[in-house]
């Protein structure tokens, strides 16, 4: 029994997780011809939440036709609870030696969990700044670029779409830039 629980709590290698991620594309096509893409839900949420008087045209559409995607997002939350709370990995993420060194250099301690405590400590104003800037850019950029990792990198590349290749290369370039040069600046403030 404890052995089974140990197995359920362990993380999966990339060659197990990757194919399971990829299968989401045909799964949603089979379920109802739906394009897999998570960031669209941010648009749907705006369409629902904004009062009619203050609603730009971009949010005036029949969001009810996209309820399937909101249900999918609700499922993501449940999945996080199942895998991240009920079956949480009791060990820290097993990074490479080089990875662990970089994390330490940032002033972050390796502990169990998916996000370090240094970045979730909301009593620190610097943490608010980091999370707010990050969220703002993710929301703006995904809509401007027409998708995120699921819509472009997974779905778009899987279906051989040129625009998705441009988007994927661009968001990796942005991520490399910010993780290597911007994040250390933020962390210097947070520490």
């Amino acid at each position: 029994m404890t052995e089974l629980l140990d197995i359920l709590r362990s993380p999966w290698p990339w060659y197990v997780g990757g194919p399971l991620i990829g299968l989401t594309v045909p799964l949603l096509l089979w379920l109802g011809n739906k394009p897999f893409g998570i960031s669209s839900n941010l648009r749907h949420a705006c369409a629902i939440l904004l009062p009619d008087s203050a609603k730009p045209g971009f949010f005036r559409y029949n969001w009810r036709a996209e309820r399937w995607n909101l249900a999918f997002a609700a499922g993501l939350i449940l999945g996080g609870f199942v895998a991240g709370v009920l079956l949480a990995n009791p060990e820290p993420t097993r990074l490479s030696a080089a990875g662990m060194q970089s994390i330490q250099k940032l002033g972050v301690t390796m502990r169990p969990g998916l996000v370090p405590a240094e970045l979730t400590n909301l009593s620190h104003p610097g943490v608010w700044l980091l999370l707010a800037v990050s969220g703002l850019l993710v929301g703006f950029g995904t809509r401007y670029g027409g998708g995120c990792t699921s819509g472009h990198a997974i779905t778009g590349l899987s279906t051989l779409q040129g625009p998705s290749l441009i988007a994927t290369v661009s968001f990796f370039a942005g991520g490399i830039l910010s993780a290597n040069f911007l994040l250390p600046l933020f962390m210097a403030v947070i520490r």
């Binding site: 096509l29 705006c46 609700a74 996080g80 990074l95 940032l106 990050s134 969220g135």
Partner: protein
Amino acid sequence: MTTQPNTQIPGVHSEPTSAARTATGLLAYLLAGLYFGVVLVKSEAASWYRIQEMFRFESFHMFGLIGSAVLTGMVTTALLRRSGAKSRDGQTITVTPKEKGWRRYVLGGLTFGVGWGLAGVCPGPIFTLLGAGIWAMLVVLAFALLGTYLYGALRNNLPH
């Protein structure tokens, strides 16, 4: 008393109402989301540590993960379409093509990427990490909604 063809007879199953059909339809997507959320956590794609390691090219994990995901998606989607199978609700499987162009993909992609590298979360993990009890993600979500709104308000002034 004449029998009417459409009256409900106790114990006899009738066609499900459209509301009931919608609810079961949504349940399928909820379960698909649950599946994907579990995979995001267990494959550690939702781990801030793994995202940092990826953007510093310090491990193969995330590259293997995304690479094998794309390969699997490519092969299985091609097989599904070539088999001529219909979707569960009887539609021909179609993939909507992305709009042509490059400016919005470069500029939007770069913007998203910079945000992704900071808190280490793309939109999927925002939801999944909330479910894992990481409440600080509410800040990321709230500002992601604000960013989405700003795009909607400013889009006519942006190059696409």
